[in-house]
Chain length 278, copies 2
């Protein structure tokens, strides 16, 4: 099942997406998406929650599917990406030895279809990173790796847009990864991916102006989603709606204003954002 978040009568409202690609409809529902959720029970899917209002996806003003309390990001979590990152920077590759989670910032979030704004002082090394995003479903602490995937409400897609010059120059990732519009996320949350085998079946494809620039097995991570969640929950309370961006694979190309970047994960959907100049 796919849950989208849209602006409706000036309020953020969730809806259930159905229909064929290109002709989807959204059936609006009442209330909070996560309230009372458990792997075995999803109140948001209750037909009694339907308001009866339906609209065409094409007519909807899509919002980011959730604004998290804390915005987590795994960073370096695929081998070829770590090697490529080191090569470009002329450094020895430093493969992470354990799942140390990082952070991104809510100010940078934009929805599917909104524009990535390339700052006027950005250098040409301005790149996409296609990532799967786990959306936490309930308040958790101290969960085992075996229990962890059952705490995930569903999955969406993120584009961890990065200005590499700033990434190397600054003491933190504040400009390089958290400038406004640098964190497209969406288009919706897909709840049909449940097990590790479901994750293993996924493939991530990134296209720039329709041309495929990378394709990789989504779950081919250094540290998997379950291990990240379990490790994090030893110290951190995860909240409903928290998001964990799981990192990307390989080498990225530069984007320039006018480009359109599409990140597709089969079984979840496709996140499309154009690049515009500031």
């Amino acid at each position: 099942m796919r849950f989208a978040r849209i602006e409706h009568n000036d309020n953020p409202t969730y809806g259930i997406v159905s229909g064929d690609a290109g002709a989807e409809e959204i059936a609006l529902i009442t209330g909070d998406l996560f309230d009372g959720w458990d792997r075995s029970h999803n109140p948001a899917a209750d037909p009694a929650r339907l308001t009866g209002e339906r609209l065409a996806l094409a007519d909807a003003n899509l919002l980011v599917p959730v604004v998290p309390t804390t915005f987590y990001a795994a960073g370096l979590n695929y081998t070829d990406h770590v090697l490529e990152h080191a090569r470009v920077n002329g450094r020895e590759p430093n493969i992470p030895a354990k799942p140390d989670i990082g952070y991104r910032a809510n100010n940078a979030l934009i929805a599917h279809g909104q524009s990535i704004v390339k700052p006027s002082d950005s250098t040409e090394v301005f790149q996409y990173e296609g990532e799967i995003v786990a959306v936490i479903g309930k308040r958790i602490k101290h969960v085992s790796e075996a229990e962890a995937l059952d705490c995930v409400f569903g999955y969406t897609i993120g584009n961890d847009v990065s200005e590499r010059t700033w990434q190397n120059q600054d003491r933190t990732f504040w400009r390089s990864k958290n400038t406004d519009t640098f964190k497209p996320m969406g288009p919706w949350i897909e709840t049909g991916i449940v097990t590790g085998a479901d994750l293993d079946a996924l493939e991530t494809t990134v296209r720039l102006n329709g041309r495929e620039v990378i394709r990789f097995p989504t779950n081919n991570m250094l540290f998997g989603i379950a291990l990240y969640i379990s490790t994090m929950s030893r110290y951190l309370t995860l909240q409903p709606g928290d998001v964990i961006w799981m990192g990307t694979e390989g080498h990225a190309e530069n984007m320039v204003p006018g480009d359109v970047c599409e990140i597709e994960i089969d079984g979840i959907g496709m996140l499309r954002n154009a690049v515009v100049a500031e």
Copy 2:
């Protein structure tokens, strides 16, 4: 004027704090603290917003004064702290050349009076950091340094609790600075500090079990609050209620379970938290 946030009838509610130290009362107000705020107009201070309910501060269940959309932290922002940090780690001091903002995480926030939980596997290098915290009052982008302080709703106090071994071991600050309870913030937001001269008059004092361990001029920063806000707002949209923790000065001592840490900034208030073992 001092605005506290308390739990009242199971809801977070703001109130205005008045009265002598140790005998304060809170007069509850309706609605959102930041809605319609501008330096020249503070709707939350409108007497029409008072509900008529008053309670003793001592009887109130204080909450963190705000849960930010994005939780910013300056990190290294006082010269002696940078030098001390380098000395302890046997590194050359690396004085930041520009105000690169960093991040902390909402899961770690606790209120005045709540306990800092020292994890069972924490090492002994478990320390306080007393900081002034700027609370943003309105949505801003592209503000000049001259305009920046007029975008601050008020100030509160933060304790950037840090586990130094993890700070050195991990790829990010996730455990070292963002473990649950590692970010005490409060007790309230003080709106009476308006100008740079007001900030210059402040002094931060940290006490461990009543013993003063450090005292420093609060505003003696490498990069001031106005410069940070102006620089950040070139790239980031700041939201009402966003917080910016401004860093700390000097050397910190270790804390052990049973200790009580007090951070006082004259003119703002005093943030007190005990340390307990996990």
